[in-house]
């Protein structure tokens, strides 16, 4: 059973504001989502009644802060089906989590001549860390191609995952094409060759229900800010045996057990990877975001977005827009990249903004993918729990207006 976006919208204070005197139509949730009152209130409550440093004080307030922080970790683990919260490291977000794997696990396990496989649809955050590693140590970075519909070329998996492949790192859902990747299939192919798999779920976690065990992921990461939570919080899931073996990431307080003048021993996982005072309030907010989404039900979220996506594609199709990504609704999420022949995405974004409609224009942090699509830029509308068919209508009306300028 799905929900009414117009009702959900009332949870989000930002929609009490206007854009250029018009009803705010926010269609850029793939970049960052808006935040419901439940999450904002939880963060305020933390600062007003529980704030202290975590894992340090022996006084009651510090215990409260620690309980809130660890409670959020439990929620984030539960959200992706992780059996133990020990396998969940809090980070600043997905980018930091991928860099954590690059500087710890990959530094030890990926050597000169070894291969790292990513895909042609990766966000820069799942490309640049591996470019840097390859430049540093002579590893080879390969890119699994996509087809013209924006789906992975699974027929080439055998060719691209070899005995030299140490890591396959890919997105569960593309932030440009909306493509939902068959990660389990890739994981099986990777594991068959002894490689590990890292799943970038930054775009998927806010919109899809999934389970790290079903995906058979070795690492998986997602960010709070795209799923109703605050900026500055995210998690890295890692198999416990991998996390145990990995060297630490940042050095500092909280990640140590015993410290001498010239050496130290490390705290247990996941704290070994959480140096310094963490973003406690943001982590607590992330936990509240998880609870907010759980209350809506992730299956209902998916159903709601499929309806909006179908409607948007139908309307954009009817006006002759070029739409990128898979056409089958069950193979894509609520991200619709498109182009109009007559209007450049930048002009489009400026003009629809005047109508209160926020869309993204540009390369969406995926320049190699743009080259593969053969376009310098696209416009992108992305949907979330607070969007309604009325928002799609507002987009289409605004797009129609933009065509008038360049006719």
């Amino acid at each position: 059973m799905t929900f009414d976006g117009a009702v959900v919208r009332k949870d989000f204070p930002i929609f009490e504001t206007e854009a250029h005197g018009k009803r705010l139509v926010y269609l850029d949730s793939a970049a960052t989502s808006q935040k419901p009152r439940q999450v904002l209130d939880r963060i305020t409550l933390f600062y007003e009644t529980e704030n202290a440093n975590v894992h340090r004080g022996v006084y009651e307030l510090s215990e409260k802060a620690t309980a809130a922080y660890e409670g959020a970790r439990d929620a984030c683990a539960r959200f992706i089906g992780a059996a133990s919260s020990r396998s969940l490291v809090f980070t600043r977000g997905t980018t930091e989590a991928i860099n954590l794997v690059r500087y710890t696990w990959a530094r030890v396990n990926v050597r000169e001549g070894d291969e790292i496989l990513i895909t042609e649809m990766e966000h820069h955050s799942n490309l640049i860390p591996w470019q840097l590693l390859a430049q540093e140590n002579g590893a080879i970075l390969r890119h699994l191609p996509i087809d013209d519909e924006g789906k992975l070329r699974l027929d080439l998996l055998e060719e691209y995952i070899t005995k030299d492949t140490k890591l396959v790192s890919l997105t569960l859902m593309s932030n440009v094409l909306g493509t939902i990747n068959p990660v389990r299939l890739v994981a099986d192919a990777a594991h068959a060759m002894g490689a590990k798999i890292l799943v970038d779920a930054a775009q998927a976690a806010p919109h899809l229900s999934f389970d790290v065990n079903d995906l058979d992921a070795d690492f998986l990461t997602y960010s709070a800010h795209k799923m109703c939570g605050p900026t500055g919080a995210g998690v890295l899931y890692g198999r416990e045996e991998l996390l145990e073996e990995m060297p630490p990431f940042h050095g500092g307080g909280d990640m140590i057990r015993e410290v001498w003048a010239d050496h130290a021993t490390w705290n247990e996982i996941p704290y070994k990877f959480e140096a310094g005072t963490p973003n406690v309030a943001q982590a607590v907010g992330m936990g509240a975001a998880v609870e907010y989404l759980e209350a809506l039900g992730m299956d209902a979220v998916r159903e709601h977005e499929m309806e909006l996506t179908a409607y948007a594609i139908e309307r954009l199709d009817a006006m002759g827009a070029t739409i990128y990504g898979p056409r089958q609704l069950d193979e894509r999420g609520g991200v619709v990249s498109f182009n109009l022949e007559a209007v450049h995405p930048h002009d489009l974004s400026t003009i629809v903004d005047q109508e209160g409609v926020c869309i993204r224009a540009g390369h969406h942090c995926a320049q190699p993918l743009m080259r593969r699509l053969g376009v310098p830029a696209t416009a992108r509308a992305s949907f979330y729990v607070y969007n309604t068919p009325e928002d799609v209508d507002a987009l289409i009306d605004a797009v129609e207006k933009s065509k008038g300028w360049f006719a």
């Binding site: 995405p345 930048h346 002009d347 005047q354 310098p376």
Partner: protein
């Protein structure tokens, strides 16, 4: 702030029918530049003679603001000395920075770009061609033909 300030008729006219678009052969300088933020791309062809910009053309993909600004630029700087072209470019950049700059009539049609100032994210679009020209002028000055 209204869209009429940004999309003035002269800008739309240059967008629909860009001037000096396409290769210029022979040329002394060819520069390829882009605006990584939005993916706009430009190729600028320059031909110098006796310290003057004798020929200029451009090619590329971009939004209306970047294409129209570049198109207007090619009309305006053709035949200018390297120094004059540089001065004009600097005054366009000052206009985009929101600084008042002497006699607005001296800029002619280029004044129509002033509306871009109210749309800060679009200033880079408007300056892509001009910044590329500045580099090209520097090359022309150091390698006179």
């Amino acid at each position: 702030m209204s869209l009429e300030d940004l999309y003035k008729e002269v800008i739309l006219d240059h967008y629909r029918a860009p001037r000096n678009k396409g290769r210029l052969d022979p040329h002394d300088v060819l520069l390829e530049r882009n605006n990584p933020l939005c993916g706009d791309e430009i190729e600028l062809f320059l031909k110098f003679e006796d310290g003057q910009l004798q020929g200029i053309s451009f090619d590329g993909k971009g939004c209306s603001i970047s294409l129209a600004s570049t198109s207007m630029m090619t009309e305006k700087v053709q035949g200018l000395s390297i120094e004059q072209a540089r001065e004009l470019t600097e005054s366009i950049k000052r206009m985009m920075a929101g600084e008042e700059d002497g006699d607005p009539n001296a800029l002619g049609d280029l004044v129509s770009l002033k509306g871009v100032v109210k749309y800060p994210v679009r200033i880079k679009c408007a300056l892509l061609g001009w910044n590329t020209l500045l580099e090209g002028l520097a090359e022309g000055a150091t390698n006179p033909s």
